[in-house]
Symmetry: C2
Subunit: 164 residues, 2 copies
């Protein structure tokens, strides 16, 4: 039987595998990286530690992370992503090289509704060749779902790429 | 570099490995199992799913777990473990076959102080042949530290056994 502990481990391990893979795949791109949802700051800490060549901007409603993982103010975009993502298309005309989203809570159904709503707001922000990593299935028009790296568990994480 | 995400994954994977190992090692014992600290209920859910022959009692100050992982009232021991553990020695004269403790928070130093305080309260509750699994190093007089199972990461989890 798969327990909640098993599922949680699968999610964390998949997040890390997808992030590591996508960071490597997009290295050399010049556009910044976006972290949507800071939470406790664990994935932000991981991204910050492995991304040296690009700024990592954090989109978050209310910063409440571990003290080790608070982004600098000038890289924090405070507010509801339903408002801050549309505003970001003006501020970042070249888009992002990598977007990671972990905006969900416990309720799968609510997460899915939110993913449908937020997908068209994320889509125009990704640069050509850029990757989007998400804990929820997204609903994109033109981004192409990618195969997962070895250590990721199917259905626990998703990767999308802008081909053109 | 080891990130907070890496450390967290190590902790979760080690907890699961130590629990699986200790549940198997103590199967056949008749005394109940104690979960000290319910939290979100992930390890409780895991223990409940893998322990069919023994009751799992939960010691917790304030139950706030995921709805899937709320223990039945008759197996919940509400209150501060500094009071409920000493009281449990009367209620459970035969002790527990397995005790799992994950009582710590973010502050390592505070966790260590608490582990020192709580160790002598836990020690008399473990039956001979029983195992104690902890996320923090414990300070026992007569329980013997055990080698970790294969998947556990040194320092992320500890197992102790009452030999006599
Ligand atoms: C699951 S947590 C992220 C955990 C993080 N990946 C980590 O490793 O610690 C989700 C975060 O998304 C944020 N969030 C959820 N919906 C949001 C919204 N509409 N706008 C901005 N932030 C949001 C929440 O405040 C929460 O901090
Ligand atoms: Ni299992
Ligand atoms: Ni790493």
């Amino acid at each position: 039987m798969i327990t909640r502990l098993d599922l949680f481990i699968h999610r964390m391990v998949s997040q890390r595998a997808c992030l590591d893979h996508s960071i490597a795949q997009t290295s050399g791109m010049t556009q910044p990286v976006f972290e949507l949802g800071l939470g406790n700051g664990r994935t932000y800490h991981h991204m910050k530690s492995h991304i040296v060549d690009r700024d990592v901007y954090v989109f978050e409603r209310a910063v409440g992370a571990h003290p080790d993982s608070i982004p600098p103010e000038e890289l924090t975009i405070l507010g509801d992503v339903r408002e801050t993502l549309p505003a970001a298309t003006d501020r970042f005309p070249d888009g992002a090289s990598l977007i990671h989203a972990d905006l969900g809570g416990h309720n799968r159904e609510k997460n899915d509704i939110f993913a449908r709503f937020v997908s068209p707001l994320v889509e125009p922000l990704l640069a050509v060749g850029g990757l989007m990593v998400s804990s929820d299935r997204m609903y994109f028009e033109n981004l192409v779902e990618q195969p997962l790296p070895q250590d990721a568990v199917e259905g626990r994480c998703f990767i999308y790429r802008r081909e053109i």
